[in-house]
């Protein structure tokens, strides 16, 4: 068996607070194969974004990596120095964030920001790098790249800025692209275009994707496998097609049932939406036992007493629930 591109094993991220330290993320393990698109879904505060930051070595106080292994292409990177991580980021791991306006440098033309990648990571000359930057802009389907290359970020629309971010992230043909809510700030029609573009470019170059989003539908559409996080833990992981058809964790089930799905009203009439009661717990007040138990409709005594272990499903996939059967 070939080694996966990225392995995260039993990762724990600590959040240092006043006097106390809490685990914002714990027992998080997943693997991403070469060229595979993997999605991490969850609500705000579930730990999905800091999981991505940890993989990139970008955790800053009060967050810190408190345990576990992160293995990129057979090599442990969790203990790598800041300089080593800087070399990895950009060349082997590319990143796209939610808000391209804050991720881009407002004082530098976008062409230069793309070209910088070739200069810093591949030792290209600025002249050569600018030519390649223009080519990169063409690949992300920015119209008239020869002019756009001199534009500053504020001169571009949100969708165009996100295309520039993709061009930067993919400039050095990284093996892994981490996309944290890449389309949340965009309109729906533009979102559809950006998702198609990411999918095409990564398929063409064999780039693996770690996609992070709150939108289960979007992730299931884009990724081969999906993991659902709740309150700092992965509660379920399945193939994208399976997770909608046969969700095994009550939280996943609840998320799928609670959103009105297009066409549903025409098929079945207006049904009252199934609610997930209660609210997402805060990190300092994670309930004991299963963290979903105060909101779960199938809760029993064992759920309140002991945290469920992660269990492999016969058809592939994982679930963390006492009653998944």
């Amino acid at each position: 068996m070939t080694t996966p591109l990225l392995q995260v094993e039993d990762m724990r991220i600590a959040l240092a607070g006043a006097g106390a330290s809490h685990n914002a993320v714990e027992e998080v393990s997943f693997e991403i194969g070469r060229g595979e698109a993997f999605g991490l879904v969850g609500e705000s505060g579930c730990g999905k974004s800091i999981t991505a930051l940890a993989v990139m070595g970008l955790l800053r106080r009060p967050l810190s990596l408190a345990g576990g292994r992160i293995v990129l292409d057979g090599e442990e990177i969790q203990g790598a120095s800041a300089a080593e991580m800087r070399r990895l980021r950009g060349s082997r791991i590319g990143m796209i964030f939610q808000e391209p306006m804050t991720a881009l440098n407002p004082l530098s033309p976008v062409g230069r920001q793309i070209a910088e990648m070739f200069v810093l990571h591949q030792g290209a000359s600025w002249n050569e790098a600018m030519d390649r930057a223009e080519e990169s802009l063409r690949q992300v389907q920015v119209p008239s790249p020869e002019r756009r290359i001199r534009d500053y970020p504020h001169q571009l629309s949100g969708g165009m800025r996100q295309r520039v971010m993709i061009a930067i992230a993919l400039a050095c043909e990284p093996e892994l692209l981490i996309a944290d809510e890449p389309t949340t700030a965009l309109d729906v029609t533009v979102q559809a275009e950006i998702i198609d573009l990411m999918r095409e470019l990564c398929a063409a170059k064999g780039t693996a994707i770690l996609m992070i989003s709150h939108d289960l539908g979007l992730v299931a559409n884009m990724c081969r496998r999906v993991a659902v996080m709740y309150a700092g833990r992965i509660v379920e992981a399945q193939a994208a097609g399976e997770i909608f058809a046969t969700p095994r964790h009550p939280y996943t089930q609840g998320l799928i049932d609670s959103l009105p799905r297009l066409g549903e009203r025409a098929r079945r009439g207006r049904q009252r939406l199934r609610e997930i009661s209660g609210v997402v717990p805060t990190i300092a007040a994670y309930p004991s036992g299963c963290r979903f138990n105060p909101r779960c409709s199938a809760v029993s005594d064992v759920c309140r007493a002991t945290a469920p272990e992660i269990t492999a499903l016969p058809a592939g996939g994982l679930v963390r629930c006492h009653h998944h059967g």
Binding site: E43, S44, S157, G159, M160, D187, V188, T189, V190, Q191, A192, E193, I195, H214, D215, L216, G217, L218, A220, N221, M222, A240, G241, F244, Y251, G254, L255, S258, L259, P260, R261, L262, G263, E264, R265, A266, R270, R272, L273, R274, E275, I276, S277, V279, V280, R295
Partner: protein
């Protein structure tokens, strides 16, 4: 003729931007010739992407921006001729971001009691009763009354926002993206609550949202806006099951579909590129640069909003043409 609660007649809201000294004055047509009706107790869904004029339209209905031309009428009475206070008792608004739209220094009790006081409810026991009654209606506990907004979760804050909008017993509530700032697992609670309150209090809603699933779920009729104009309007079933404007189809096609139901049709319906600037709209049909069905005629001639079937109108030269 059915009594209309809200009537918009050829409403336009234009802004001037720029200055004569720097590049000249331009007119931004945020809302440009919108005609709409809302009946009592009806829910009208309003969809469109950012910059299409949905929020400006909402502000014009609230009387918060003056219309450049055209008319807004409530209960058959022109908004311009009505007392502002009276309008406030008829139309209220629920905002997207409950964090930003509540006064952080006011308790829930004060947030709810102030509008009542302003509108002449001064009896202590009546004030207290109406505040408690409203809190119970939106699912807040009595002991929440003396708490401040920061002590609540996002979903609860939106409940406060809804209570504030409903405390004056309005007839029409404009909900501007009421769930998009909330956690996914909380949205169903708020949508269910809005629908229950609508039945209970006989409210009419204008539901502004970019989430078509939500709009389909709650709306009786739907209007689709693009660059300041309505491009399609009809019953929810017509809009979602038989959309006649390519932009409506593009919006539907843009929704990620995990089941890959109709890939080929979806691929044919997708819009290309981005919304043009409202400062410089394209000639002819404003959707033509992005439209998969674009023909020569579309770049010359602006299509009129015409009927496809009774109650279903679309502004497209090819509204009768079958797709797929």
């Amino acid at each position: 003729m059915a009594e209309q609660l809200l009537e918009l007649r050829d409403l336009a809201v234009h802004f001037t931007v720029g200055s004569a000294l720097r590049g000249g004055v331009k007119t931004l047509k945020a809302v440009d010739g919108v005609t709409l009706d809302v009946k009592p107790g009806e829910c009208l869904g309003l969809v469109g992407e950012s910059g299409c004029g949905k929020s400006t339209l909402a502000l014009a209905i609230m009387g918060l921006v003056p219309p450049t031309s055209g008319q807004v009428s409530l209960n058959g009475q022109s908004l311009a001729a009505r007392e502002r206070m009276e309008t406030a008792r008829t139309v209220q608004m629920v905002f997207q971001d409950p964090y930003a739209s509540l006064n952080p220094r006011q308790t829930v009790r004060r947030t709810l009691a102030d509008p009542l006081r302003l509108h002449g409810v001064t009896g202590k026991s009546e004030l207290a009763d109406r505040v408690m009654d409203m809190m119970a209606k939106v699912g807040l506990r009595p002991d929440h009354a003396d708490r401040y907004p920061h002590e609540f979760s996002g979903g609860q804050r939106q409940r406060i926002g809804i209570a504030r909008a409903l405390i004056l017993r309005p007839k029409l509530v404009i909900c501007d993206e009421p769930v998009s700032a909330l956690d996914v697992s909380i949205r169903a609670q708020i949508i269910n609550l809005l629908l229950e309150l609508k039945d209970e209090m006989g409210l009419a809603y204008i539901m502004i949202s970019h989430d078509l699933g939500v709009v389909e779920h709650v709306s009786d009729r739907v209007a689709v806006m693009y660059l300041g104009r309505i491009v399609e309007q009809g019953g929810w079933q017509e809009i979602f099951e038989n959309p006649r404007h390519p932009y409506t189809r593009a919006l539907i096609a843009a929704i990620p579909d995990p089941f890959h139901r109709a890939d080929a049709l979806v691929a044919r319906s997708k819009a290309h590129g981005e919304i043009p600037s409202a400062l410089n709209p394209p000639p002819g049909c404003p959707f033509n640069p992005r439209c998969p069905m674009k023909a020569d005629r579309c770049t010359r001639e602006r299509p009129l909003l015409e009927a496809v079937s009774p109650g279903h109108i679309a502004a497209c030269h090819f509204r009768e043409q079958a797709v797929g």
